[in-house]
Amino acid sequence: MDPTLILLIAAAYLGLLFAIAYYGDERAEHGRSLVNNPYIYALSLAVYCTAWTFYGSVGYAATDGINFLPIYIGPTLIAILWWVVMRKIVRISAHERITSIADFIGARYGKSALLAGVVTVVAVLGVVPYIAVQLKAISTSFSALTVPLDAANTAYPPVFQDTAFYAALALAVFTILFGTRHLDVTERHEGLVVAIAFESVVKLVAFLAVGLFVTFGLYNGVGDLFRQGAAVAEIEALYTVDGASGAWADWVWLTGLSMLAVLFLPRQFQVTVVENVNEDHLRKAAWLFPLYLLLINIFVLPIAVAGLLHFGDATHADMFVLALPYAEGHSALALLAFIGGLSAATGMVIVAATALSTMICNDLVVPLLLRAPGLNLVERARLTGVILGIRRVAIVVVILMGYLYLRGLGDAPSLVAIGLISFAAIAQFAPAILGGIFWKRGTRAGALAGLLAGVAVWGYTLPLPLLADSGWLPASFITDGPFGIAALRPYALLGLDALNPVPHTLFWTLLVNGGLYVVVSLATHPTMMEQSQATRFVDVFHYADPHESAAPWRGTAPVGDLHALLRRFLGWRAAERALHAYRTRHELDALPETADEELVDYVETLLAGAIGAASAQAVVRSVAQAKPLHISEVMEILDEAQQVMAYSRELERKKAELEAATDELRAANQKLKEIDQLKDDFVSTVSHELRTPLTAIRAISEIMHQTPSLTPEQQQSFASTIMRETERLTRLVNQVLDLQRLDAAPNLNRAPRDLRAVVRNALNAVRPQFQQQGIALHVTVPDDPCLTSIDDDRVTQVLLNLLSNAAKYSAETDARVTVQATRDADTVSVAVSDNGPGIAGDQQDAIFEKFRQARNRVGPQAGSGLGLAIARQIVRQHDGSLTVRSTPGQGATFTMRLPRYVPASAAASVSTTSAS
């Protein structure tokens, strides 16, 4: 075929792509976005299918049969997890204005520029060979149409005659035009995405066309094709998974690997996360994208089988898609296949270069420039141009690196092999990202350690042996290990030779990477910034507004400076728009002179969208640093904290007081209730005690009045009863008054007395009554005087009460009352004991209360119930005590203790004696 025609068609295709992208951008400018629908979104995700898919799957299938499938099963399986993992990543990225996967990881771990830089380098290392593959596919497919198959690929033409070189240049231009039109990458590249979606349609249509032609044009359907293939032993082997050689293990590993790749490949991150318009699109894409993968893989095996049947061997299997229709004389179809392959390759290169250039600029170059002494980047008037310039250069460099890689190393491995090596490098981001969004404890040190170690093992076990394959290293490096150390053989590290190279690498890298991530994270303490970012990431669904979760770094800055920063990094228009939006949201007429923390945070996030989180932080602090947390502010915060503490202590104290007061009130209330009850009892008892003699007096006097016929004896008896009951009434009334008086104000007539004399007088008063009742009386008094200062009459009253009680309650037979006076150093006392029924323990206090006669103390003449209450009252007013001790069944002993009286002269003589 005429190379000029092919070049023209290719140029026309790129021109169409350009037009579509331009149209997409125009629509976006006018607010009628094409991208805001899930189908375009799902098609843009199909950038996953590169030339590697378009050509490489058939090549792989021709040699390894259905083993190519895991690469597509992985993304299908991960679609199930998308809602959990991807939605969270998308939400976080929208909140934090994340610009790339390097930015994402750096931002998560305390806005670490170092970590973001390392991720960028790894991504470049991983993706550049992948770009090389695309360029190779373009040039190979071009040759396949222009040169006989067997003549192609033998040697590279000089650079300036190499189609791959021109393809690279064309792609660089295209990427620059649509990948770096705007500065803020979070503003999305709508035209670019529309173009990518279009490319996804083209490559699918082309591949299906070739597949249909081969299956139904060359053969009579799939059955016919496979039957013919089955006749050849080597081809039949392709239909099954070879279990004996551990192929199933490969399946599992490769499926896992491609799951990670579809999540974390920079270009996938670009289309899935950065270019995402609406979180809900993920939902539909979760089944549309796997459907796309299914369609584009349906004819892989048929084409491979047909190619093998047609060409006899798998030497040019990577070009079967193109070569089959061409060889069969269908040039137009071959041309369509060429365009399909071109679209697959260009789509990948454009998106990958856009993503990588953003990373290189934001996470590698700008941080370095910001730190470069003397450059003073922040002071430059217009930085948008500088940054766009950096990105454009980065795009050219990345694509040219891909080309150089192709020229240097591109011969050895097949397309699929290079693709898998890329995947394995990208898989190294998995622990830091997955840990980062679900585990707050993951630290920067852990992420860095895991990533570096994983990449080191990856480099040693995959790319390094390639150097040996290409002759840059001796072959013995692979077979015997470096310096003949078998344990270090790159394909069988530590003797692990049961796995193929890629699963082998994956096993070791994920073990080392994930292990170090966890162990080092647990061994290190996150900084404040890391903790804050960890919370913002892991708890992203808890915050409606990202600025709600305040950063630990408190800073204010002059609004003028922030304004200038925004103008420098975003351009004048974008800066005005952003600040206007802020004013509207906060309903401010004008911005204050000094920005508070929220505005500073807002500006930093805006800048993060342009230059990445780490650089944005550095830039903002360069103006806000002028206003660090002054010592006075620290003191203010401390004061505040102290005041709060003092206040809470005060509250605590008040609460305790209130509780105490409540307790007191409760106790007082209880006491009042008891007193009230006591009063009721008192009144009812007094009325009862009054009614009993009244009843007798009334009844008897009525009888005497109505019955003139009474005998003189009867009259005598009735009269004496009336007199006795009248006395009883008098006594009762006197006691009530007595008690009343004692309660109100004691009026004691105290003088020193010998208690022995008082006891003697009381005994003399009751002795006739005791003799009359036949009660034995035993009295013991000390020989020495028992002086005490008392009101003689009152204490006598107490003794009489005790004696009459003792008489009343003593045993019915052999009644005995014992009176014993004693004295010791401080007190004199009298104990009165009876031998009656005694008082139960629970009654011993109650009997001293008014009208509380012990229930079991009943006798022929129950008292008023006031005697003991009065007695105790009197004794207490003498600073003494009246107590009872009793064992039920063995009588009771009432003891009155009074302070001993020491004459002043005696006390004086004692002190004189001790002084001399």
């Binding site: 009614r691 009993t692 009843t695 007798a696 009334r698 009525e702 019955t707 022929p860």
Partner: protein
């Protein structure tokens, strides 16, 4: 001759009650402790019981109820004589089975008139 049981622990009240009942031509027995009331009933079932409430050992309400529980408990009349004069006390007395309830201090005429209502004609 009708028989009357006086349950009362105050001797000065027993004196007029005994006099009044004997004047009515009854034989009188006195018990001054709640614990001994049932024994007295077993000894000789009275026609009328004059029952105090506040008694040693066992109160009058309790006794009244217990008397009514006896097989022969309804063959006699019970007049409660007490200082407990509140409405609830009176209600309680009737609920326990008293035929009449007289509060102290009482008029002699009341006691005699009420007793006559329940005493068989001598």
């Amino acid at each position: 001759m009708p028989h009357v049981l006086i349950v009362e622990d105050e001797p000065s009240i027993v004196t007029p009650l005994r006099f009044l009942m004997e004047q009515e031509g009854c034989s009188v027995q006195v018990v001054d402790d709640g614990a001994h009331v049932m024994d007295a009933l077993d000894q000789q079932l009275p026609d009328l019981v004059l029952l105090d409430v506040m008694l040693p050992s066992r109160n009058g309400y309790d006794l009244c109820n217990a008397i009514r529980q006896r097989p022969d408990g309804n063959d006699l009349a019970i007049i409660m004589l007490t200082v407990k004069g509140r409405e609830v006390d009176i209600q309680k007395g009737y609920a326990m089975g008293a035929d009449a309830y007289i509060t102290k201090p009482f008029a002699v005429a009341d006691v005699v008139a009420t007793a006559r209502k329940y005493l068989p004609d001598a």
